[in-house]
Symmetry: C2
Subunit: 771 residues, 2 copies
């Protein structure tokens, strides 16, 4: 505290030395002082929050500065002012600055952590939040929605901030436009680092949402530029643009499970962005276009495997005369001077056509209006390995004009062949992920369409005037910008990727208190169980990353659970990530082996079970409503004599929510699991929810499902990705092994079935409409 006292004195000195008393810099150390300082703030004032923890503080800035004399609220030391507990910040004046705050260990008591308004009539203008962090500042349960940053007013800014870990419902950042004071906003969201956002398991988890369908006619003019989106996996849309005239420039989308989507609104500019995948994941997307007049230029796509809604370029079909909240037809779109390197089927048109579902959907849901007046020009595709379908036509392409696009497809033929001119050329790696053609294309003229004169620069900002070329990059640059250098994004004081401590191994024997060891272990540690029988009296809470394993040599530790009925042996808490290997788990038929918390699951959990024996439980896994797991994996594990298997089916509101992103069951053996062997549910017709995922592979099910009321062994209703393959089903007294959804990514193969019902496929599942 000494340091801060000295600082205070310095500030006092500075203040008293000023010849005019109208501006001041004042340190505040209590909530009352803060409140008073904010209430009495005058143009030019600087209010300094003393370092330390500020608990349960609702900050309201309601005075106004001027262009030359803003009012500033800043941390004494950036990052050393922790805003915790039930805290939020609301700005309701002009020319306000907030600098250096760190929101952590808490959540907002209101609709937003940071809001550029204090009431409907009092919004901020010309104000900015800079150099701040919001980390894991989640409402206690995912159904309790909020925003982390809510823009209102005009000309406001969020810059050089880091936001990561949002797991409850609601976009991370949203711009609201209802009310004339909020349109033509020219907000800027620049130089921020959007760190990992886990998948939410349902809609409403965008990193940025600009407006909504009800204000989709509003002119917005929001600029989103120079941001890094890293592992932003919340939902299928990373950025959901829902208003007009927004600009997306020079952002980097790095291994993020979603796309930049012009969901509503029109005339957006998407220029100079990077979309970087890993060559494996089918979940990393690119640009998905809906609506009118968008322009996508100078974008670079690398190593993407997303398809359909997640394809590198998805140009959607619309609904004829679409309702306000559905899919407007694509018209007057220009996609020019972009490069796709090593992407699979990068161009997809007519995405979302669902004419085949007209029997199960109302006419107002049928996307039959294909793109018209759409121009693809001066684009470049390079595939190190030839792609049989660089262009996927989900509907006719008669509304799309192709001009002067080139491809090196390594001689592999494709359709329509006249959309892309085949060229032989090589690439040079400029820096990690960035490849540019090694040659100019003197024989490939660029097409000069209406408005093309305005495409003056390339991806790196090089003029296209004298030495223009197809693709995102002209000429032969010597180096590329360091697009993944954290120094360009977020606050300099925050380390988004700190080096982790080496994990410790704790060796435990049956005489020790396992719960204690678990409680004291650090994130990432390993607990080794020596051989023996462990009696566990009450639930073991897992709220960090832990590996629990039997001693390597024998692997014969057994946990006998003696806890109360309907309690779990392992209780998965938010952020719990348990790997358990080589352990036997046993109950009294009345408890659960694994379960989430019943409530307040503010973040996801993960569970990996390998080489275990699990028997005599009421439930193997019970996932409560609003809980969410990203990965649940059972491998080489035997399940015997349980009343229920894995139940993840409480999201019955049919709003597209589900309880786990990925469930993997491999090389397992189920015997005598009487019902809910697997019960995994996602309800609601929602074409933009692309999860969850269930893989059941190489496993055996016998004598299971005997008490299953619905007669289906593996229930996957509404789950988008299901693969049941290579399994053996013997003597299961059920009507169906599974009822798959043909129109989605549900498959089955190579299963051996004996006395166990059959696997049925229904092409178009009937679901409740979400909208």
């Amino acid at each position: 505290m000494k340091y801060s006292v000295i600082l205070s004195l310095v500030f006092l000195l500075i203040s008293s030395c000023k010849d005019s008393g109208t501006q001041s810099s004042s340190m505040v150390t209590t909530k009352d002082e803060l409140h008073n300082a904010l209430t009495n703030a005058k143009p030019g004032d600087e209010i300094v929050l003393a370092n330390g923890v500020w608990e349960d503080v609702e900050i309201r800035m309601t005075s106004s500065g001027t262009k030359d004399k803003p009012i500033t609220l800043r941390a004494e030391t950036s990052g050393q002012v922790l805003i915790q507990g039930e805290s939020d910040l609301k700005l309701g004046g002009d020319y306000l600055i907030v600098d250096g705050l760190y929101f952590v260990n808490g959540h907002s008591p209101s609709n937003a952590v940071i809001e550029y308004a204090v009431s409907k009539d009092s919004v901020a203008n010309h104000s900015k939040v800079t150099n701040c962090v919001i980390k894991d500042f989640n409402k206690p349960q995912r159904n309790l929605k909020d925003l982390w940053v809510l823009f209102k007013g005009r000309n406001n800014q969020l810059d050089h901030s880091y936001l990561a870990g949002k797991s409850n419902g609601g976009p991370t950042v949203r711009v609201d436009l209802a009310g004339n004071q909020n349109i033509n906003n020219h907000h800027k969201i620049i130089n921020n680092h959007f760190g990992p956002r886990p998948p939410k398991g349902g809609p409403s988890a965008e990193s940025i949402q600009l407006g909504n369908s009800f204000t989709s006619m509003c002119p917005s003019y929001t600029l989103v530029a120079n941001n890094l989106f890293e592992k932003c996996d919340g939902e299928v849309e990373i950025i959901s643009s829902k208003t007009n005239f927004n600009e997306f420039r020079n952002n980097v989308f790095y291994k993020s499970e979603g796309s930049l989507v012009t969901r509503h609104g029109n005339y957006c500019t998407i220029d100079g962005n990077y979309f970087i995948g890993d060559g494996v994941s089918p979940n990393y997307g690119g640009i998905r276009l809906i609506g009118t007049g968008h322009i996508a230029t100078n974008n670079y796509f690398y190593n993407l495997r997303g398809q359909n809604f997640r394809s590198p370029l998805a140009v959607m079909n619309g609904i004829p005369k679409s309702p306000l909240n559905r899919y407007i037809q694509v018209t007057d779109v220009v996609v020019a001077y972009n490069s796709w390197v090593d992407c699979t089927s990068p161009w997809q048109f007519g995405v979302g056509t669902n004419v085949s579902q007209k029997d199960v959907l109302p006419a107002s849901e049928i996307r039959s209006a294909r793109p018209i007046r759409t121009l693809m020009a001066n684009n470049l595709i390079y595939n190190a390995k030839g792609d049989k379908a660089p262009i996927v036509a989900h509907d006719l392409l008669d509304g799309i004009e192709f001009k002067n696009n080139i491809i090196n497809n390594q001689g592999v033929a494709f359709e329509p062949s006249d959309a892309l001119e085949s060229k032989s050329f090589t690439l040079t790696e400029l820096s990690e992920n960035i490849w540019v053609p090694s040659t100019d294309f003197p024989d490939v003229p660029v097409y000069n369409g209406f408005g093309f004169d305005e495409f003056e620069k390339d991806l790196f900002g090089v003029s296209r005037k004298d030495n223009n070329a197809v693709g995102a990059i002209v000429g032969k640059p010597n180096e590329a910008p360091s697009i993944l250098d954290n120094g360009h994004y977020g606050p300099t004081w925050y380390d988004a990727n700190p080096s982790k401590a080496e994990p410790k191994t704790h060796v435990v024997n049956p005489s020790m208190n396992l719960a204690d060891v678990i409680s004291k272990a650090q994130d990432g540690d390993i607990i080794t169980l020596e051989t023996g029988d462990y009696e566990i009296a009450s639930s073991l809470n897992i709220d960090k990353t832990l590996i629990i394993q039997s001693g390597i040599s024998d692997g014969s530790a057994t946990l006998f659970y003696k806890g109360a009925m309907r309690t779990p042996l392992f209780q998965m808490n938010p952020k719990g990530n348990l790997t358990i290997k080589g352990v036997s788990l046993s109950g009294d038929m009345e408890q659960y082996a694994f379960a989430s918390l019943k409530e307040n699951m503010s973040s996801k959990y993960d569970l990996t079970v390998e080489n275990c024996n699990i028997e005599t439980f009421d439930y193997i896994l019970k996932a409560y409503k609003y809980s969410f797991a990203e990965n649940i994996t059972f491998n080489n594990t035997i399940f015997k004599n349980c009343q229920n298997g894995m139940e993840l089916s409480e999201e019955k509101e049919d709003k597209g929510e589900y309880n786990a992103e990925n469930i993997t069951i491999k090389n397992c053996y189920f015997d005598g699991v009487k019902e809910n062997v697997i019960d995994y549910y996602r309800g609601g017709y929602d074409e933009s929810t692309v999860g969850g995922t269930l893989l059941v592979n190489n496993s055996t099910f016998s004598n299971c499902g005997a008490e299953e009321k619905n007669g289906i062994l593996l229930n996957t209703y509404g789950i988008v990705n299901v693969d049941i393959s290579g399994n053996t089903f013997v003597d299961n007294n059920v009507k169906l092994i599974a009822q798959l959804w043909g129109a989605k990514n549900n498959t089955h193969s190579n299963n051996k079935i004996n006395n166990s019902g059959k696997i049925a496929v229904e092409e178009n599942l009937k679901l409740n409409l979400l909208y």
Copy 2:
């Protein structure tokens, strides 16, 4: 021709005197010369069309001028170059000017008379048509649609032109926005005179349409300013704004049957316009608002009686999540500083609510979304006679904020009383139709809402800065602009209201050829039939305004029609306007008394029948498909022994079309008319078609309808305004006298009915959907 030869020489002289040969002024006298001159035109060139008639000429301007050196095509003498026959004009270049042409006696062979494009890819920019007239240049039938002026491209202009008499389908002027080259167009439609446009009897007869629902998301920025709209009666929308950011300034809407409607699109400005009625007609409207963000300021409304869709200010209900082509909810609208003088129920909110019709309409047609975030501020209402309902709330007003509005309602109470502050003040007449408050309102502060600083001037352009006040006019001006002075609008060379010749009276006796006399009579003449029997061998064609009457003293002329079966005695041609008085008409039971042409009814007709006897015809009146009458009146007339009555029911396509605007039957006697006594039809659910109108008053029907197949005596299916009152129905063998439409303006009263069925009312008629 001598004059033009001299002029040509002068031009030649001027041309040859120029030191640079790059610009020239050349007179053209043939189509080939014109074509060559246009093909070879260079910046700065002027091409002069020689005076005279240019027949069947398709003018294509495909060269481009520059800002300083436009290419001009002009009439040798403004108004003396007549473009006739199948002719049109298309502009496909930059900086083109067309000046002084007169389009008359013909029609376009294409989709437009004047189009600012020659093809999809070749549009005009920075080009203008000035000082021109298009008069009655109609396609031969109303179902053959075209535009008279079709804008494409950008920055084009139509100014000082006169357009009148369009009767076929299609707006008079339309701006097209499909294609990026046509958006952000900044077109100007200024200082024009939109002369009389007769009602069309169905939709698609706007004077100006800006875009359409499919391009309603486009930014348009079209300016419509300083135009006079005089008797523009085409349909319910005079101006239909269907795109964003259009401006309507200082226009005069004078006795025009329609409104300025923001039908689709948002953020339009409606500033300083005049809406002038006659204190009687319910058809003159004002401003009708749909959508978001419109601003209506400084408008002046006088003597209007329109209600509902046609009310002086109609703020509509929308459809929740409306389809693109239906009704977007009203949000964020500002109506400020306007004045309403002697208007009935001038403010109507929630117009178009049709929740009561949810049983007969699909959910996507129900307008239940009432206006929200809508502000009424600083407005003024004056009523010389108190109005019980200056505000009509068709739905709740909870989304509307009322601030600082005043009214002098002569002490008559109204609801909600807090929306308007009652004030006692008087008005002074500044000029015809223009009344201003005699006093300032020092005790009425103006409300200063968001963005109000931008409302800098009043209706007359006086600054609001220092001496602001509620209402359209600040201070006490001494004079008003001459808003009806034709000198401000259209070309100076054209007389829109020429004085008419005195009508001549032609006296005819039975030995003369009546057809000859009719053919030779001038428009407006009177033909007096002396007593006697006239045998008429073939149809008498009426293609002008004529009065045919019996000699005043005895009134006993009888026309015996001997023409072919299914031909009419009087054949109404386009523009035919017949008044027939005191004459007896008689047929052989196989012909018609009156009929339209079977085809090519390029304009409306009118028919008035007074004190006549009409008997033994197959039809009294037969209106063929696509024909249209504005007024059909039968007064004091006896109809006996006809197979059919008046049949106006051929528009069975259910697109909102109908065959007559007003049918009036007063003091008539029908006896022995066997079917179709009245058969008047309008099909298609279309809330914005507000006609036709049928009045049956004080008439007697006996022994009629004996062979009526549908059992209804007076068929009015789908007709919006029907009044059946004070009639006597005796011994008509029908099930129903009429089947009225309760939800619309259908009424009946004081009818005496004996042995004649009954009058039924169905609240919500089932109709086919138009959209």
